[in-house]
Symmetry: C2
Subunit: 343 residues, 2 copies
């Protein structure tokens, strides 16, 4: 046996959730601020943080978009970049069933960026924020070798009697449902980065899905009002995000892949490849939630987008998601979803 | 005359405040969210945003630290980096006279960063946060070519009867005062980057000032309680930050340079060069404020750090700061302060 050296573990090895678990331990073992931490209804590890205040539940979320990690300026205009940076944060508030109110913007950009490009980016952010009655309240600008946009959105539950939608609220027997259609954002990414051609209506749909996602704020409110307890927005991919719900709720899940609402235009363009995108593509920013069939039927009446039941929460292995086809045969993915630290 | 081409203006030419003014216009010309914007007590351009809620004034601030722009891992440990990222944001709440409550952390790091380094960084953040009863409520981690840490701190004014300290609150005739001693952080930066030697007590003081600044939360509370209306924290440099107060308050200022509290240990180390650092060095995170002599005398009684009167607000040119020596002779700086977009 030779000399041993323990190489330090890198974050790319630990993965995002391995890292978050370590950091959560650091935060919760601090000697001070114990009482303040105990007031938190939801802390690290959900779409947004939540705590009581003002007779309401206060919500706060933050997300960064980093150049050449989350976007490329080759395929995304500055205006689209601004829209998307706002959208991904509003989507986190939607996943809590909340009402967004204020946003803070921290903008790190190279010094040789054109002022008009930054103005375009802000126009994209402001346009989407205004649609949901969100005011940009402040922020910070600084120099950076790459563009990094961090948006923080603050909001409330809108009522003291409504619980927020947590990742930990799923129970065995709940049906699993999803808003809208899936896979179009991943299709858009593929189309734009590989410079592929498609019919105009397919191009328009896929570009819009990837570059200008619309956060499901209105639908999230209905979910909260109609009794849903567990939800997440689909950012990493349907299966990955369902695994987050299952881990936090200590349950399993079974998905019938033929019931997954693959985007119809994506399907006309890519055929069978579109299913993989709907299951693992990510960035659709639709809401994935669990509830009884009755509640889901009420939601179908209340919202204007499609709502599809795609499977069921089980008492099986915590965090495990199984997939079956229409004949009950097991199905497996080539790739589970977006991993934040794969280099 | 040859053919003309209008080169687009770059953010490094516009400067941070030129850029912020353009972005402020974009935000305030949005068609939606008008009522929400009107609720803002303080929006873009101050240390923190403020709006009414919960019978208190709600405060929110965000600031990013970018590798090789704001810090170098050659001179800053991960634990110090975490401390400082939290400190600069808490300092913004201090400058509003507020009580910090919750923090969100958005962390962008290379995939090959050691998990233990990130844990150290979090320990630094959590240690300082706990000192001020601040709970880390959530955040986001993602991959990035450079380390970028964005901290958002949320807090309140602590009382519905106390106004927040705004940059716009200075009036002609107000005295200008500052907490603590100045220049030590800039001295620390010089010492660390140029690997200079100094006596142990000088080394300790300058390193601590640059790497582990202590936000003046307690002092900021006293300022608000005792009737101060205008304050800012010294991040860009005394003169630069005073110019921000003067611009926002539409007043001028006159500083007597001999009354500026240069850090005593810095002075023993650098002699006359230390004055320039105290005036323009930045990152001291002391509070600069304006009030009547009576109020400032009350503050001196109430806080445990030095408080120095260094000049007076004038009705002169808005935004203009003049400096005079003890004989009334004009004094000028080689460099006004930290400019966020000089490359």
């Amino acid at each position: 046996m030779g000399a041993c050296y323990n190489f330090p573990m890198k974050v790319s090895d630990a993965g995002e959730f391995g890292l978050i678990n370590r950091l959560d331990t650091v935060v919760n073992s601090a000697p001070g601020a114990r009482q303040r931490r105990q007031q938190l209804l939801i802390g690290i590890g959900d779409d947004a943080a939540a705590w009581p205040g003002n007779g309401l539940t206060q919500l706060a979320t933050t997300d960064s978009l980093i150049q050449d990690v989350h976007f490329s300026l080759d395929t995304t205009s500055w205006e689209e970049l601004g829209w998307k940076a706002m959208a991904v944060n509003l989507s986190d508030i939607a996943a809590m069933g909340g009402i967004p109110e204020y946003a803070l913007i921290s903008l790190a950009i190279p010094g040789d960026t054109a002022v008009e490009d930054v103005v375009s980016m802000y126009r994209g952010m402001v346009a989407l924020a205004a649609d949901f009655n969100v005011a940009i309240a402040g922020g910070d600008t600084c120099r950076s070798p790459v563009v990094a946009i961090t948006v923080t959105v603050l909001g409330t539950s809108g009522s003291d009697s409504l619980p927020v939608l947590a990742r930990s609220g799923a129970r065995p027997g709940d049906k699993i449902a999803v808003t809208g259609y899936l896979g179009a954002a991943a299709g858009g990414l593929k189309m734009l980065t590989q410079k592929l051609d498609a019919k105009p209506e397919v191009k328009a749909r896929l570009s819009q899905a990837f570059l200008r996602p619309c956060p499901r704020i209105t639908e999230g409110r209905q979910l909260a009002k109609l009794g849903v307890l567990a939800a997440i927005d689909i950012s990493d991919g349907l299966i990955s995000d369902l695994m987050h719900i299952c881990e936090m709720s200590q349950v399993g899940a079974r998905i019938e892949i033929d019931r997954v609402p693959v985007d119809p235009l994506l399907k006309t363009w890519l055929g069978s490849e579109s299913l993989e995108m709907a299951l693992a593509g990510g960035e659709d920013y639709e809401l994935l939630f669990t509830a009884s069939t009755d509640i889901i039927n009420n939601i179908k009446q209340a919202v204007s987008c499609p709502v599809s039941i795609i499977g069921e929460i089980t008492a099986g292995d915590a965090g495990k998601v199984t997939m079956v086809d229409s004949n009950g045969r097991p199905f497996s993915l080539k790739k589970a979803g977006w991993e934040h630290f794969i280099t």
